[in-house]
Structures are given as C-alpha cells and as structure tokens.
C-alpha cells in the first residue's frame, strides 16, 4: 500500500510482520490456510490411489466412482448444514435421529401423494431445527445438551409412530430421488455451465483485485486457477457419464453445497455466522443479533436433515426406524477433517464436502477390500483424530 506522502515525521518502532500466517516447507512459502486445503486434496488423492492399487483397479472404475459419489451425498448434505452450525460455535448431535424421524414421516405420508410426502419431511426437519435452535438461543441451554436430548427423543418418536416397523417406499418418483441418474446430455450441459462460471469468476475477481490496487494473479497463475477446476469438473462428469450419468443425489448435493458456499461466503448472514463463532462478544457489540442467527442456523440444519433423509430413504427404498443412526457423527467428522474448528469461526463448505468425500472413500474402499467392520471403525476413528492432530501440529509451528 502506498503510504501518504504527508505523514507526520514520527519515530515509529518497526512494524511487526503484517502478513497472513505462512508455512515454510523447504524454500516454499505457502499461506497456511491454502496449505490446509492442499493437504486435504492430496490426502484424498493418496487414499484413492491406495485403494485403486489394492483393489486391482476396481476402486476408481466408473461404476464404483458413481457409487462413491452416491455414498457421499447423504453425509455431504448434512455436513454442509453442520458446517454452518459449527462455524457459529454450536453443535448438532440430533441430525441422525432427525434423518430417521423425518424419513419415516415421509414414507408414512406417501398416501397423500409425492409432493406432500416430500414437503412434510423437509418442513418437519425445519420445525425440529427451529425448536432446538430456540431452546439454544432463547432458553440458553447449551447446544450440546439440547441436541443430545434431541438425539434420544426424536429416535423415540419415530420408534413410536412406526411401531418399530420398516415402511417401504412405494411411489416410484420418490425412489428415483435416490436411485436415478440424470441424462448424460444434462451432465455435459452442467459441465459446460460450470466451466464457464469458473472462467467468469476468475476473470472478475482478477479485475476487481486490479481495481483495488492489489496484486493481480499472473497470467500463468490465472491459467492454473481456471484450468485445474475445469479439468476436475470435466473429468468428474466424464467418469460419471461413462457409467450411467450423474446420480440425482449427487446433483442435490452439488446444489446444496453451492447454496451453502454462497450463503457462507457471499451474504451478510454467513459473515455474521463466522463473526459469532470467532468472537461472540465482538459480534454482539457490533450489533449482530446472535440469537436470531443461532435460531436460523439450526433451522437450516433441520431442513437439510430433511433433504438428506429423502435421499437416504429413497436410496434404500424404505424407512426403517433406526435409519440415520450415527450420521451426526459422520457429518461432524466430515467438517472436522475438512478443517473446521469446533471452537467456531473457521471452516468452509468446500472443506466439509471434501471431508465427507474422504470419509465415504474410506468406507467404500475398505468395504471393497472386505475389511472387517470392526477394523473399518478403528481406521475411521484413527483418521479423524490424526487429521485434527496434524492440523494442530501445523498450527503450532505456523
């Protein structure tokens, strides 16, 4: 920045380092935040290559990749909601039970037709979220307690209204939400639109940076920033299309993730969530209504639990009373692996989705290799703790 020329001549002690936290690897200097994202991507690639090699080329086959994406979608949708909850410094332990409950309600209300059935799930999720959110925000009960109560109570409710029975999904359109694929042409269309958006966003932000006198990306860097995501998008669609097309749950996840990313990064609402999680005192004194935002974020989480329950129920074509068990922990783990701080104020939707993908990859890969279920649990637990451990190590040094 250019210092004003008419600065008063004062003796000033040297300015302390005014730069973003950086990490040094050999001669390389990377912004710590970016380094975290790269590490996650590399971890994912390593996991993929390992399983691909160990399964004799099955893991990254088009068919299995499609499966992997399907498996990611439920956790992913929940992780997007959970990310917002955690960023605001809260936690929601009830989402697994909510998925079970509202999935059951959707299945039981199929008699009223497709739309009422689907809408009831999402509205019920929203309502549950709003109830829990108001208990946290207005009755000052800690979120951990409210949602731990929810975890037990909502599971009890679905056991009660289903009388312990599994309800089959009979409406074909309902089932297709979890089982169908979109036409390959639509997939290609999506890829084209997505690449166009990547190009446009990059050019726009570069122009903006130039306008504010910030250093704009070099041509090479700009190329990279456009080419890399575009390649990923095209490869993604290509692989899915070479099997059966993009699964509908994946489309839903992408839509939810995009909406979540927009909400967290491009709205005042999102900014306030980070502020509340980062420093509630400062947020309150800046005129932010903390209670309203906490209520809203739990409501969103509830509605997304509704969406996830529809995918889940449709995929297995039935609603069993124990559906969604432990899903809340998968969602939290996905956020944490994706670099979200449980203290609040830090984390991205992208990271949470990547975390969900890593968790699903471990599940899928180990199942393909017929790893014993008990070992799978141990591995997942160890990965979760290790991910946060590495993050902490990196932060201490940085």
């Amino acid at each position: 920045m250019n210092e004003a020329a008419n600065e008063p001549p004062i003796d000033r002690p040297p300015v302390t380092a005014d730069v973003a936290p950086q990490t040094h690897i050999g001669r390389l200097t990377i912004e710590t935040a970016a380094l975290r994202a790269y590490t996650m991507v590399f971890a994912l690639i390593a996991i993929w290559l390992y399983f691909h090699y160990k399964t004799g080329g099955v893991f990254l086959s088009a068919r299995n990749f499609s499966n992997l994406m399907l498996q990611t979608s439920v956790t992913g949708v929940l992780a997007v909601g959970m990310l917002m909850v955690i960023v605001a410094g809260q936690i929601d332990l009830s989402v697994g039970s909510v998925v079970g409950l509202v999935g059951g309600i959707a299945a039981l209300s199929q008699g009223y037709g497709l739309v009422p059935s689907l809408a009831s799930a999402i509205l019920m999720g929203l309502l549950i979220g709003a109830i829990q959110g108001s208990l946290v925000a207005y009755a000052n009960i800690p979120a951990f307690i409210v949602t731990l109560g929810g975890l037990l109570a909502w599971r009890g409710v679905i056991l009660g209204i289903s009388q312990g029975k599994t309800v089959p999904v009979t409406i074909p359109a309902f089932r297709s939400i979890g089982q169908q694929f979109v036409a390959k042409e639509i997939g290609i269309g999506l890829a084209v639109v997505a690449v166009a958006i990547v190009v446009w966003l990059n050019l726009r932000s570069n122009a903006a940076r130039r306008r504010y006198g910030l250093q704009a990306a070099s041509a090479g860097k700009l190329m990279m920033q456009i080419l890399l995501p575009s390649t990923v998008i095209i490869a993604f669609i290509y692989v899915l299309n070479s099997y059966a097309g993009v699964p509908i749950p994946v489309i839903i996840l992408l839509a939810v993730a995009l909406a979540g990313a927009f909400l967290t990064q491009n709205t005042t609402f999102g900014r306030y969530l980070y502020a509340i999680g980062g420093n509630p005192d400062a947020a309150r004194l800046s005129g932010i209504n903390i209670r309203q935002h906490i209520l809203a974020v739990f409501s969103i989480m509830g509605a997304l639990a509704g969406v996830a329950s529809l995918i889940y129920t449709a995929r297995v074509a039935s609603a069993s009373p124990d559906a969604g068990n432990l899903l809340e922990l998968d969602a939290i783990a996905a956020c944490v692996i994706g670099g979200t701080s449980l203290m609040g104020g830090r984390g991205t939707v992208f990271g949470a989705c990547l975390g969900a993908l890593i968790m699903a990859s471990l599940d899928n890969g180990m199942s393909l290799r017929n790893v014993e279920p008990y070992v799978q649990l141990i591995v997942k637990g160890a990965v979760l703790v290790a991910a946060v451990g590495f993050d902490m190590l990196g932060r201490k040094k940085g």
Partner: protein
C-alpha cells in the same frame, strides 16, 4: 521501621518487561523488608500489576530483564508454583477462586492434605477453620464460595495466601470491592500480619488507605520508578504530583474545537451490578456532549466508566435506568444494534476481547458493524466492501500489506485503528472511545490522537474514556471525573489540572466544580 535494619526480604533490580510494541517496565527497582507494608502506587498502566505478575511468576524467567532476590538469593521463577514455594502469595485484582467449590477446598486447592492420595476432608476443614478463626473471619469453611459476597471472597483469598505460609504477600487493589466494615477487618488483619513479620506489597488507587496503612510508598510512572520514600515523609498532593508529574501537552496538538448543538445527552443513568443485586456500578450520572466536542471521562479502574458506556450502548447485563437523548430526542436503546441505528459508535476497550475477531481479515473486521451499508443488505458485494475498507485503511494509515491481512497479526496500534475504522464506517453521530490507546506504541498513539481531533473538527461528538490522565486532559474540551460510580468533578479544559482531576478520581478531595 524497626525491621529495616536487617537486609531486605525482597529485592527487585532493574526489572524490564517488553510487550509487543510497548515497554511496560523499564529498569524498575523495588525492595521490601520483613514486617513492612510497602505501597505501590501509580496511574493505570504505570506497570504496577506487571511488576507484581513478574514477582508472582505469572511472567516467568526469562520473559523479563533484571534480577529478583529473596533474602539475598537470586530467584528465577519458572511459574506461579515456583514463586509460591519461595513464599510469595498474590491476591490478584481478579478473584481467582473456584466459585462452585467450598471455602476450605479453595484455600487448599492443589495442596489438599492427603494420605495415599485420598483427601483428608476433616483435616482440610479443620485447618481452614483455624485459619479463618485466626483472622477473626466469620466464614463457614464448608460454604460454597458462590454464596459469599465479593468482599468476603476477597478475604478468603487472603486466607488462602496465608495458608501457604507466605512471607511476601502481594495485595492488588484489595479493597476495591469491600464495604467499609470489611475494609476495617482487612486493616486489622494486615496490621497483625505486619507484627508477624510478613512483608506486604500494597497496590491501591485509594491514597487515603495507602497513607493509613503503609510504611513506605513507591510511585511508578510509565514503567519507571519515580521514587521510594517513607510514608511519613510524603503527603497526598506530593504523591499525586509524582503519579501524574510529566509534561502534559507535548504530544497533544491543541485544537480549538467549536462545539455546536447538543448531540447527545444522558440523564440520571444508573447501572446495577449484574452479579451483585443492589450494588450500583454507576449512580445517577448525567452528562451531555455537543457536536464537535470531546468530553473526557476520567476516573480510576473500577470507577464505572466502561459500565456507563456499555449501559448506554445497550450491552450491559445488569439493570439500567436513565434517559438517553440523541440530538434532543429521547431514545430507548436495548441492544447494540439499536444504538448503532441511533448513530452511536463504540470503540470498546480491550480490542482483543471486545473489538476484533483476531483470525479474520482486516476487511471483515472493519465492515462487521456496517455490513448492510457498505456491502449489501443480504448478498454481500465484495468489490464495494473492499473499496470501503481500502479507503478506511488509507485514511487511518493502517500498516498492512492489504486489507486481507489477518487482524491478529497486526501490531496493537494497527489493530486499534481497525476497530476505529469499524465504527467510523457506521457513520456515527456520537463516538464512544474506551481506552483507545491502551497498550500501543507512542507513534500509533499520536496518530490516534490526531484522528480524534480531526473527527471532532468534522462535527462528531466524542466521549473519551481513558485511564491515562495526560490523554484525557490533552484531548478533551471538557472533563468529568467518576469515582465509585458517581461524578465527583467536572472541569473545563482550562480548569483541568492533573492534580485536581486525580484528587477527584481518588475520591479524596471531592470538589464538585460548577460546569
């Protein structure tokens, strides 16, 4: 002063302590004899607490420069425990009791009498009872600390310190929360300890007490020792002169503000302590500020200055009564959001706790209070926001690579400018500044001062709270002085001498001057 024939119990030599950008202590020398009460006085920020934190092991060796000797032996405390075992006990300003434990448990916390790792409760409570009896305190060792008043808690702290067989007892503002009767109890206890040969460091803003209790007085100013003398050789005016005695005005531009119409007024503001029912933090305070005027609010720590501002801003947890008028119209403010809407900006004290989100960017911090205006009602406009941030950053000369630098990595002065920018972006009509230059270097201070004067010139009404007397006197057109929640003096710029203001602030010479 019989004890002073023997060598001193404690010697601190050339103690120096640096904080980022600030030299908190600069070659301070301090000693203490057995059986004496040595008072340590000075303005807020003079370095008293820092000095005692070094002695108490809170800032361990080698985080400071200089030497500490106890009975002639050099000590290098690596933590609080090391200082404790050397016989030093500290009763800090902030109470350090665990509220949900009993009095006895607190006294012996971490040192419970044990056999095979099992706590011997009877012995613990027996010893606690004995200790309390010794001090003539009518406190049940089995009652939870939460049930005690603040004053009694303070006395329990002292009992705790004594249970460690302390030879050196440090009391940091011990009477701040005590009632008159409790102060008498404390005085009795301290006199008794003096007879027992305990050396005591007594930090207080209340000079009356200092003169009543102490044998010697050391005055600190700006991190340096001004002098140590026997209490009998001093009197209050001389101590006050030493506390404030520096050339005021050098670094303050002397602007002539032309105060305009009344911008802001509060009437009969009363603020109750949220934790202690019936205790008033602010008692019927009224004042007004005009456009282009800087009103200084002087007073010592705990006088209720911040509580007053927080209450006006709708951010106080306790009961608040009184009337607030913005530009002549009575307004009801129940939350910071409403205060902001009525054109009040509030640069809060303690920027790390109340002002900034340290791990977010400068820009995010700057625009937090004005996001809907500078960016967008719901969808943010990154371009417009960055432009507003860049402009503010340039206006305030924030030194950073760009507005996307993380706020936590900035120096204190630059952080403070970010907080100031945050509130200026809300386009306030009245700006509260609470300790706007706490803990920042001299250069940054001057820039903030210049900024305050510029803002007043532009017609902003400013209420300035500061513990640094020269700052209040140098910047304000008018000064009110608070002591224990009440206005004890009001001065025009010409009348406001450091001595007059300080004596109102210490509650000694209450001389309510006419406005």
């Amino acid at each position: 002063m019989r004890a002073q024939d023997s060598p001193p119990l404690l010697e601190m030599r050339d103690i120096t302590k640096l904080f980022p950008g600030v030299r908190a202590l600069d070659g301070v020398t301090f000693d203490l004899y057995a059986g004496e009460i040595h008072a340590l006085v000075g303005e807020n920020g003079a370095g008293k607490s820092t000095l005692m934190k070094i002695l108490g092991g809170v800032y361990p060796y080698p985080d400071y420069g200089g030497e500490i000797r106890i009975k002639g032996e050099t000590q290098r405390f690596n933590g609080v425990r090391a200082a404790e075992s050397a016989g030093i006990a500290v009763v800090f300003q902030e109470l350090s009791l665990v509220k949900d434990m009993t009095v006895g448990e607190n006294i012996f916390l971490g040192r419970e009498p044990r056999r095979f790792g099992v706590v011997r409760w009877d012995e613990l409570y027996g010893r606690a009872q004995q200790l309390l009896d010794d001090l003539h305190l009518q406190i049940d060792p089995r009652s939870p600390v939460r049930n005690l008043g603040i004053g009694q808690q303070q006395l329990v702290e002292i009992a705790k310190a004594l249970s460690q067989d302390a030879r050196i007892l440090i009391l940091d503002e011990p009477t701040a929360a005590l009632t008159d009767a409790e102060v008498e109890t404390l005085v009795r206890i301290l006199n008794k300890l003096r007879e027992r040969g305990v050396g005591m460091v007594y930090i207080s803003h209340k000079l009356e007490e200092v003169f009543r209790l102490s044998d010697r007085i050391t005055v600190l100013r700006d991190g340096r020792t001004v002098g140590t003398e026997a209490t009998t050789a001093l009197d209050e005016p001389r101590v006050i002169a030493r506390m404030v005695g520096r050339e005021v005005g050098d670094i303050f531009p002397k602007p002539q503000h032309e105060p305009g119409a009344s911008a802001f007024e509060v009437r009969e503001m009363t603020v109750e302590d949220p934790n202690v029912a019936g205790k008033l933090l602010v008692d019927r305070v009224s004042f007004s500020v005009r456009r282009g005027e800087v009103l200084g609010v002087a007073g010592l720590m705990g006088a209720g200055r911040s509580d007053l501002l927080m209450a006006i801003f709708g951010a106080h947890a306790g009961r608040v009564t009184g009337e607030v008028l913005v530009e002549g119209r009575s307004v009801r403010i129940k939350s910071p959001a409403e205060a902001i809407r009525h054109g009040i900006g509030f640069v809060t004290e303690d920027r790390k706790r109340f002002g900034l989100i340290l791990d977010q960017t400068i820009l995010n911090n700057m625009t937090l209070a004005s996001l809907p205006h500078v960016s967008g009602r719901f969808v943010t406009n990154a371009d417009a926001e960055a432009a507003a941030g860049e402009r503010a950053s340039r206006d305030l000369r924030i030194k950073a690579n760009n507005v996307f630098t993380i706020a936590g990595t900035l120096s204190g002065g630059n952080q403070q400018k970010v907080v100031l920018a945050k509130w200026l972006l809300t386009k306030p009509r009245v700006l509260f500044l609470d300790e706007p230059t706490r803990g920042i270097d001299v250069g940054a201070k001057q820039e903030i001062y210049a900024q305050i004067n510029a803002l007043a010139r532009e017609g902003l009404a400013i209420v300035l709270v500061s513990s640094e007397l020269p700052e209040v006197l140098g910047l304000s057109d008018r000064v009110i002085v608070l002591h224990e929640g009440r206005i004890t003096g009001e001065f025009t710029r010409k009348q406001a001498t450091p001595e007059a203001v300080m004596s109102c602030a210490t509650g000694h010479a209450k001389r309510a001057a006419s406005p």
